[in-house]
Assembly symmetry: C2
Homo-oligomer: 338 residues x 2
Amino acid sequence: MRKSTLEEVAAAAGVSKMTASRALRGVADVSKETREKVLLAAERLSYVGNRLALSLSSQRTNLVAVVVPSMSNIVFPEVLAGISAGLEGSGMQAVFGISDYDTAKEHTIIRDMLSWQPSAIVVTGLDQPQETVRMLQNAAIPVIQIMDLDGTPIDFNVGLSHGKAGEDMARALLAAGRRRFGYIGSALNRDLRACKRKAGFERVLNENGLGFVEQQIDDAFSSIALGKHLTQQMLAPAPNLDCIYYSNDDMATGGLFACMELGGSALGDILIAGFNGLDLALALPARIATSRSPRRTIGETAGKLAREAVAAGQPSPQKVFSFVPEITGVSALHPSRL
Amino acid sequence: MRKSTLEEVAAAAGVSKMTASRALRGVADVSKETREKVLLAAERLSYVGNRLALSLSSQRTNLVAVVVPSMSNIVFPEVLAGISAGLEGSGMQAVFGISDYDTAKEHTIIRDMLSWQPSAIVVTGLDQPQETVRMLQNAAIPVIQIMDLDGTPIDFNVGLSHGKAGEDMARALLAAGRRRFGYIGSALNRDLRACKRKAGFERVLNENGLGFVEQQIDDAFSSIALGKHLTQQMLAPAPNLDCIYYSNDDMATGGLFACMELGGSALGDILIAGFNGLDLALALPARIATSRSPRRTIGETAGKLAREAVAAGQPSPQKVFSFVPEITGVSALHPSRL
DNA sequence: ATGAAAGCGCTAACAT
DNA sequence: ATGTTAGCGCTTTCAT
């Protein structure tokens, strides 16, 4: 069965293409009778409009392009769900691409997405290579950079400072009496935001005459299993640690599981600290420290920005939307160790 | 800065639109000199082709529409990543939509996606309402229904039988000596596949003269926190159970955490059984039973099917791709209770 | 190897 | 309230 066109619907309804178009779109100045005739014809032919033609003709799309680095932990899916929610009711459609934390791939994906003439584009982070930035600037649409705040935005910026998140966590842990820190991370060469958190954390340690006593860093992407494995490696020689800072909650959860299996002092004495405030982390049977990243809200804000920037005569005057993650689960050192 | 068009590139290169088009696409019969002139001009104008025009003109898109019910646990993001991977290198682009387990919303989303004239469409499940099925059939493109196998597919079908998954898990648990079962689930009115698993499980229990001793079912969507909460509710009166079957691994993980906090007999004696085989479930500090759904593979298979159905002269002759989830973590009942 | 003409399906702008 | 004309930016087809 061939797809039917507006022309066929119009013919079936005995009106012109234009009248059929207006009736279908619910535009003013179509008599009730005519509208019903057209709607009926469309129904009978199971007509589905062709957005390619619509958008080409009207010079506008309802598309928002979104590029995220990964789908393998729950953080970015939540951002995407937030964007979808922020767009809901606006008639706009998010189109997603996954860069796998690869800047070359990201460039290609952005290029492909731009070729669909989206009305706005959301990209993750502020550290795109120059040629990607140039391409985004040339696109002449609102560019919304999300998650990170540490850098120079092209246009709109919604996120948090990961450097500061690391600093804040370090300060909170120091205030709780922690002094002997380990660090466990992964894929730091690709996950720049995890890097910035680590750098911020280390900055504060250094200011206090401290540093990481132990480090375990792996090239693979973060996962619970990897966090568990690296923690086992770190704790095997029974180092004198009272806290381990992880690159994120997945890794930290693995760390907690490792401690639970080791039992004894590992569990009680070493505070596990992560980042994200995943639902998982909050439901864990033992407390871990974490900073809650407002990823859903970041998505929603980006979605709303996109619709405003497109719909209204004038886009939002506010360019930067800054969030500060809330720190939870920081417990004081066990009295016996003070 | 206005977006430049092919015409402008052609003018800048001193050739016709057609030649520029051929040069840009790398089509045969363009002299090397000319090609380079065009490429240079395109580069200078930072030309990005307009896919709307391309697709309208050529009557084909590189789009694969994908509709999933949710992004709030890791299962569907993994399916999406699989689809992206299965499409990689084909030049095709996946476009995602989220239905929130709402069939009306699903209908609208599918309609919207079809208006972009995708080359294939991937939808979750086999239980779309009739009018949605009709719309899909009228679209005259390959329809790939994923995840579920229990029902009548429109065209291609990639997934597993959830009824059978429930049956198999029940048999495995019975074989391990379990007899007193509880059930904990959520959103069963919307998550039809969880329903089918429960029904299959119950079927086998009934065949063996058994049934669920206790049930806790909530309307909210599944989450670790909800699984934990419902488990606490179920275990508060200390019922005599040796196994709890959960609607999925998120719920089951919450159940395990509840047991860990309760400690004592709850932890050792009650086997927690879920569904999906999440990485999380496999790294947990105590074993839970689960069936590993091959969600990534399902996604990849769907992606490959889409590209084959579109690219090749003839699409895959195989219409149904059936997977059987592997069951792990079923432990025998503690000897003292036999 | 290159170009000109026609048209994809729709809407904007301008009649009537 | 309805219709007509032109054109969105590209590719297809047919010339040359």
